[in-house]
Amino acid sequence: MSEHYLDIVRQVLDRQVVDANHYNCGKVDDIELDLSGKLPRVTAILVGNQYSSDRLPEFAKWIFQKFFGRSRVKIPWSDVSAITDDVKLAKNADEYGLDERNGFVYRFIEKLPDAWRK
């Protein structure tokens, strides 16, 4: 990133993630930091219910993981191509397993009449 200054909580955490085709593929649910150096360094953005529910109190976390699974996708910081209002990725969502058009919900919706209309 060419930014001189980036507020990682305000400008990255909980922001919309979009892929190279500007398709919505989740939110930045958490951020991975490397704390081994002199200064903390962002190494990845984390997307998925496992990460977001880790931010909840224990009981709520248990419920959410029980009902909505523990999906987790780690996207290397080097794959982030731009940060505007959204966090834009350099690759397509399906390369990270984040394309909702691959799941069972899609398979149901696409079978309905007129689901392909413009």
Binding site: Q16, N24, S52, R101, I109, A115, K118
Partner: protein, 412 residues
Amino acid sequence: MSKYLEIFLGILTAMGGFVEIGELLFTVNAGVKFGYSLLWMIAVGTIGIIVFCEMSGRIAAVTSQPVFYFIRQRAGYGAGLLTLLAANLASLLTCAAEIGGIAILLKLLFGGNYFLLVVVTLIFLLLTVWFLSFQAIERIFGLLGLMMLVFVAAGFWFGPDWSQMAAGFVPNIPEVKTSSDYLVYAYFAVALLSSIMLPYETYFYASGAIEDGWNPASVTQNRLIVIVGFSLGALLAVGLLLNGALYFQPLVIEPQLPGTAALAPAFAFGKYGLILAILGMFFAFSGAAIENSLTAAYNLSQFFGWSWGKYRVPKDAPRFHLSWMVVFVLAALIILTGVDPVQVVEYSIVFSIVILPLTYLPMLLAARDEDYMGPYANGWLAAILGWAYFVLICIAALAAIPLLVITHGGRG
């Protein structure tokens, strides 16, 4: 479409979509119980919804980001999730109440089994939202909901006392028989405020602005639509209250069903008044049911970062589309349990005001943030009104549940 026609249609749509089943029943009954005394609360609520929707519409136009995007950013994941669950529960309850109301109207029109009509209503709503575009839904239900104006015509046909009516617009406490009636008055004041400032209207309005492709140039259009459209919508609420005060109060009838409320226009204008009232309610309730189901789907999608919008090819936003379908089905199931839709209305209205501050505050903070909004950030008037209403809805939110319990849902 020319800009002016778009604004004109937007105003009519905002007006036609102003009333739903909760507002209808609470407003008519407020008139029955307290005559003109609660007219001022219609004015207070209308200014409140104008302030809230103007802010969220402006944010959507300037940033292309809807309500739950900001709520997650501003409140964080945990508090944002709580807000999401509460908002969607309120939308689900409201949607259920509307479906129950529509089924009651269909029963009045065609007769038949109520539960079967709930299923018919469900199928009608599912097909409507699936096959019609966002703009078509907005226009059809908003514009045909204008048939509700027959309630306004009836209200004035009954010959209101103009000086008493004017006095009703000034905050007042009426003379009542017992001290517990003061609490009932307070309950109706809070419920009226809530029914006019239902939070789903704001989420839907902001998401709709993005569906309609608004941009910073749309800020003036936004302002015109909310100010003129909602003010004219308030006229509907005034008409309903007059129906209660001038027709039902002398008969000592407290309408608990939409069909009963339609008796006032029927008395004033005969068969045609009755048909217009029932059709107007049908389109107003259907519009509100659709708005609530779509709102819940918008909220979920925006919070979790899914692809969303009626403008997208359905297969490209599968979770969004499944979400509104699930909301309709759950809402219909609630009504199919046999629960009284009017009781669902009551709970949805009270619950809505309780959660309103949770969504109002993040929007207020975003609207005043010059980093986000640049030159479109809140000016002095929006800032003063914004904070004043935040205080007001916090007080109403704190009072709502105790008043519901103490007054037994306004029955005293």
